[in-house]
């Protein structure tokens, strides 16, 4: 902590100090870990505190915030809700400032190398970056190998970059249960939040709900994406990235094929960018510009509001099932209720409102 003179850095020390006391107290309250351990012991690091610190763009609060968000213990959800409340549009006085970017594509396509280059480009432009890398979980053991960290290069002393790997767990759709909440929390503090997932065809719907801009990454010569697009199996992404541009003609023809498919689907506005992560890197600045252009073109508050409402209803349905939906007099009625609520509310608050209407315990 040699550059510990800035306020942010000092609170970083505070965070780790509290972390330590959290770990120490956990023995007594058996709740295990930093944030909520300290919180339930009445310590300084409650979900609300972490949320406030993120709101103040205190980047060193990120690890403890994610430990909390990922936790699934009794008492956890209230702390998570408290954290999210502090970074909700209502608390922030508007949408979180970050550009939330979803990056998805099949394994081995070069997402990690691409991310190394993107992170460097964003940092060069003075933007802070958080990456949430989601890896599949073994169905057999429940364990997971989180390999992305090995492949995404960044300077460990740079506090403007935060990388967290998560296992998808048993959820479908490529996202870990906690990813949406994690992205929301980090979006208050970082300039760019990346959600990286593996897959093509199913997962980008989920990512699309969590991100402002979704980039699907493909490599030249793999026809799957083209077929999926044409057949309507996958939704049209916001940006298409073709890797391995160093392959020259093959990459160029892949770009052409994708462009003509998009044209046929009446989606000419979707940019197709060819990149090469092999030195000398190519296309990275163009990709940064394409991502920014999409964000500028899209109504981010509306997109996020829609996503929050969808999440709240999905969470509610997952918890209370068809019976719960019947108690709300059906999905359409539920949508109407959600639309009538304060647009600044976060997902847990929206869900609580649904539960209140249905007269169900949360």
């Amino acid at each position: 902590m040699s550059e510990g003179s800035s306020g942010g850095d000092r609170s970083g020390e505070a965070a780790s100090g509290a972390d330590r006391s959290g770990e120490a107290t956990s023995g007594a309250d058996r709740s295990g870990e930093a944030a909520s351990g300290a919180a339930s012991a009445g310590g300084a690091l409650s979900g609300a505190d972490l949320g406030r610190r993120l709101r103040e763009r205190d980047l060193p609060a990120a690890p403890a915030a994610l430990n909390l968000v990922e936790a699934r213990r009794p008492g956890g959800p209230e702390e998570v809700a408290a954290l999210l409340r502090e970074v909700s549009p209502a608390a922030l006085g508007g949408e979180a400032p970050a550009h939330v970017v979803g990056i998805t594509g099949p394994p081995g396509v070069g997402k990690s190398s691409l991310l190394s280059q993107l992170v460097a480009a964003w940092r060069e432009g003075g933007r802070t970056v958080a990456v949430l890398a989601v890896d599949p979980t073994s169905r057999r053991s429940g364990g997971a190998l989180l390999g992305d960290r090995a492949r995404i290069a960044f300077d460990p002393s740079d506090r403007g970059v935060f990388l967290r790997s998560t296992a998808a767990g048993d959820t479908l759709g490529g996202l870990a249960a906690s990813t949406r909440a994690a992205a929301q929390a980090l979006a208050a503090a970082f300039d760019v939040v990346v959600i990286e997932t593996v897959g093509v065809g199913q997962s980008e719907t989920d990512v699309a709900d969590a991100a402002d801009t979704v980039a699907v990454v493909v490599q030249p010569g793999s026809g799957d994406v083209l077929q999926f697009l044409k057949a309507g199996i996958m939704e049209i992404p916001d940006v298409l990235v073709v890797t391995k541009a160093d392959l020259g003609a093959i990459a160029e023809s892949a770009v052409r094929d994708l462009r003509s498919a998009l044209g046929a689907l009446d989606a000419r506005g979707v940019e197709v960018v060819a990149v090469s992560s092999i030195s000398p890197a190519r296309g990275i600045d163009e990709l940064v510009a394409a991502l920014d252009a999409h964000r500028d073109a899209v109504d981010v508050p509306a997109r996020r509001l829609r996503a929050r409402r969808r999440h709240a209803l999905a969470d509610f349905a997952a918890e209370h099932g068809e019976r719960g939906l019947r108690a709300l007099a059906g999905r359409r009625e539920a949508d109407r209720l959600l639309e009538s609520l304060d647009p600044g509310l976060d997902v847990p608050a929206l869900r609580a409102a649904l539960e209140e209407r249905a007269d169900l315990p949360s």
């Binding site: 902590m1 020390e13 965070a15 780790s16 100090g17 972390d19 330590r20 770990e23 956990s26 023995g27 007594a28 058996r30 709740s31 295990g32 870990e33 909520s36 990120a62 690890p63 403890a64 994610l66 430990n67 990922e70 936790a71 699934r72 213990r73 956890g76 081995g108 890896d135 073994s138 057999r140 053991s141 429940g142 364990g143 997971a144 190998l145 989180l146 390999g147 960290r149 090995a150 492949r151 290069a153 460990p156 002393s157 935060f162 990388l163 967290r164 790997s165 296992a167 092999i278 030195s279 000398p280 890197a281």
Partner: protein, 661 residues
């Protein structure tokens, strides 16, 4: 004399000892002593910074300078290393890969300065990058540019250093990474094809037979020495076919399978280490017994390799093994012992057909360069199955899973535990000497040479060697040479192979999973472990097996691969919110690196407990525990499930959770 005997006994193979440590001067003294003892060739071991293209004062070099080999930073070092050794008479093998072009440039420049022209030099640069990605980890550049460097060295030596073996295609390290004999044959042949195809683009087609004839192999031999001998005959057969069919080599002499060997280290044990001597002898038989496929050069490991760095006396013992075989036994007096043997022929054809199938799989994936990820995952799987078979007693290792009881060994009774400990002052001395070298050279000439090097690196159709030799003469350092190339080629991290490993099972693992589930529930989220390799050591087998087993036990595993700085490990541990950290070091630099990691973790406010695995003498283990390391595992702790149970218990205790019922 009869037809059962040769008219004249054969000349023995080249006898070498893989040696070098500390600085050039001390290594030179060692070489001269070894040559005086009857060693007939040199085998230079370089330290990890030299192998990966970093100067001794680079952050990543910390703790590694002069450790597993000699530090060679510039022409002055190379001259000191070879001082008094006539290069036109010596046959020097250099275990150098990513930076092979550079070390060869230094060797050529040293020859020039001592009046030996390049045409008179003989020796070998290992110069095989694919096995570095697959196993050994001392790569520096991405695959494309690395293959180009290899091809450049081949093209240059064929024209200018005709007695040089520009590449040793290595199957050795594949076996060390767990390869079965079939995989060892198939992947090394596929590797050789990739190299030859790359060279074909850079030389005149008429030269290809000569090029083919200059390719040699560096193989391994394990203790199952009959099958191992069959493996070499199978390689010989496939190589001959390849030369004839793929590269149109007419002259049978140029199609001969030429190989040097270092016998197996993977099978050497830390427990009852004296047993390793018998293993080494049997393994040496595998590469000498059959005259038609006999090794041209042999270096034997020392009995105590699993304990730490061997001392000169330990290495002398291994040299004497070779000398007894060659000069006392009647080994060299007969024609090929296995000609006409049905058993041998059967074994060979079994291996050849297995290897052909596996080579087809590599070809289908676009050849060896494209298939690195596939081969790596296959090796991780093979190694895992080997470890499991030892654990379950299917594969006998005397002193480990059978006859484990032992008397106290007098061989390891001295204060250092029977190994060589490099003087920690070496690093500071080397850095000081390097600074002096930089200060005393003609800076403008060095800068100009580096500019030229960068230009050539960017010009794909030019050969890197002339600019490298000019840079050697101009006083450029190893780190500067490699950095100039990194600027042009970019950095690279090889695939870890662990993500694709097949999921394991078994009753014991089921019980372990339940315990992981229980502790994870109590923690609130799944038990998360960081597995990391600090420093330049690229031997990642152990770390990979730990990572895969931890996943199979139900943990979330952050595995970052090799070559991490302490600050990278600390940043990862903090950002990932891991519950426990496992570090692996095999290069002997744990004394410097582990405390540095502990310090970085404390600085980042990470409280997660740390366990360490590696070739760590007991005296050092105690010192590591004092710096806060919770547990130390060495090669004798082969029971991975036990290590997993320990880790779960450690995390539970750290968080004040009740121990397992």
């Amino acid at each position: 004399m009869s037809e059962h005997r040769l008219p004249e006994p054969d000349r023995p193979w080249l006898m070498r000892t893989y040696a070098g440590h500390s600085n050039a001067k001390r290594s030179n003294e060692l070489y001269r002593r070894n040559l005086a003892k009857g060693q007939t060739g040199l085998s230079v071991a370089f330290d990890l910074p030299t192998q990966t293209g970093y100067d001794s004062d680079h952050e990543l070099a910390r703790g590694e300078v002069g450790k597993v080999g000699v530090a060679i930073s510039h022409l002055g070092d190379m001259k000191a290393l070879l001082d008094g050794i006539p290069l036109d008479e010596m046959n020097t093998s250099m275990t150098i890969n990513a930076t092979a072009a550079w070390l060869l440039a230094l060797y050529v420049a040293t020859g020039e300065e001592t009046g030996v022209e390049p045409g008179k030099l003989s020796g070998t640069t290992q110069n095989d990058i694919l096995k570095e990605y697959l196993s050994r980890g001392t790569y520096a550049f991405p695959p494309g540019p690395s293959m180009r460097l290899i091809a450049d060295v081949v093209a240059y030596t064929v024209a200018h250093v005709p007695r040089w073996n520009p590449i040793n295609v290595c199957s050795y390290h594949l076996q060390e990474a767990g390869a079965t004999p079939v995989q060892e044959i198939a992947y090394s042949m596929a590797n050789a094809i990739a190299v030859l195809d790359a060279v074909r683009e850079r030389v005149d087609e008429a030269l290809m037979p000569t090029v083919f004839g200059r390719i040699s192999f560096f193989v391994n031999a394990g203790v199952r020495f009959v099958e191992e001998h069959a493996k070499l005959r199978a390689m010989s057969q496939l190589w001959d076919e390849l030369g004839r069919e793929r590269y149109g080599v007419e002259d049978p002499k140029l199609r001969r399978f030429r190989y040097g060997v270092q016998v197996n280290s993977l099978g050497l044990t830390e427990a009852q280490p004296e047993n390793n001597v018998q293993r080494i002898v049997l393994e040496a038989l595998a590469v000498t017994l059959g005259r038609s496929t006999r090794a041209r050069a042999i270096q034997l490991p020392a009995w105590n390799e699993a304990l730490g760095l061997p001392r000169p006396w330990d290495q002398q013992w291994s040299l004497r093994i070779q000398q007894v075989m060659a000069f006392e036994s009647d080994l060299l007096e007969y024609p090929d012992l296995f000609e006409g043997s049905k058993v041998m022929e059967g074994l060979v054809s079994e291996l050849v057909s297995g290897a052909r199938e596996e080579m087809t799989r590599v070809t289908e994936r676009g050849g060896a360069v494209e298939a690195v990820g596939y081969m790596k995952a296959a090796l991780v799987d093979s190694h895992r199955s080997r470890v499991r078979r030892i654990e379950e007693g299917e594969l006998t290792v005397v002193g480990i899973n059978l006859f484990a009881e032992t008397e106290e060994s007098p061989l390891t009774a001295d204060a250092e535990g029977g190994i060589l400990v490099v003087d920690p002052a070496v690093e500071a001395e080397q850095i000081e000497a390097l600074e002096r070298w930089r200060a005393e050279r003609d800076e403008d000439a060095a800068r100009a040479a580096l500019d030229e090097l960068r230009r050539v690196a960017g010009a794909e159709d030019e050969n890197i060697m002339p600019a490298s030799i000019a840079a050697a003469r101009a006083g450029v350092t190893t780190g500067e040479w490699a950095q100039a190339l990194r600027d042009s080629f970019g950095d690279y991290r090889a695939p870890t192979g662990v993500g694709e490993a097949v999921a394991g099972g078994g009753e014991e693992l089921d019980a372990l999973r339940e315990e992981v589930d229980r502790v994870s529930d109590a923690l609130g989220r799944r038990l998360k472990v960081l597995v990391g390799k600090p420093g330049l050591d690229g031997h990642s087998n152990g770390a990979e097996q730990i990572a895969v087993r931890a996943r199979d036990a139900g943990m979330e595993v952050v595995y970052e691969g090799i070559r991490l700085t302490p600050s990278q490990i600390a940043a990862s541990a903090l950002q990932e919110g891991v519950h426990v950290i496992g570090l692996s070091i095999l290069s002997g630099s744990h004394r410097e690196l582990i405390p540095a990691v502990m310090e970085a973790l404390a600085g980042a406010g990470v409280e997660a407990p740390v366990v360490v695995g590696g070739i760590i003498p007991e005296a050092d283990a105690a010192a590591l525990r004092e710096t806060g390391v919770a547990a130390v595992y060495t090669p004798k702790d082969f029971d991975l499930n036990r290590i997993m149970r320990d880790i779960v218990t450690l995390v539970a205790q750290h968080h004040g959770l009740a121990a397992a019922a």
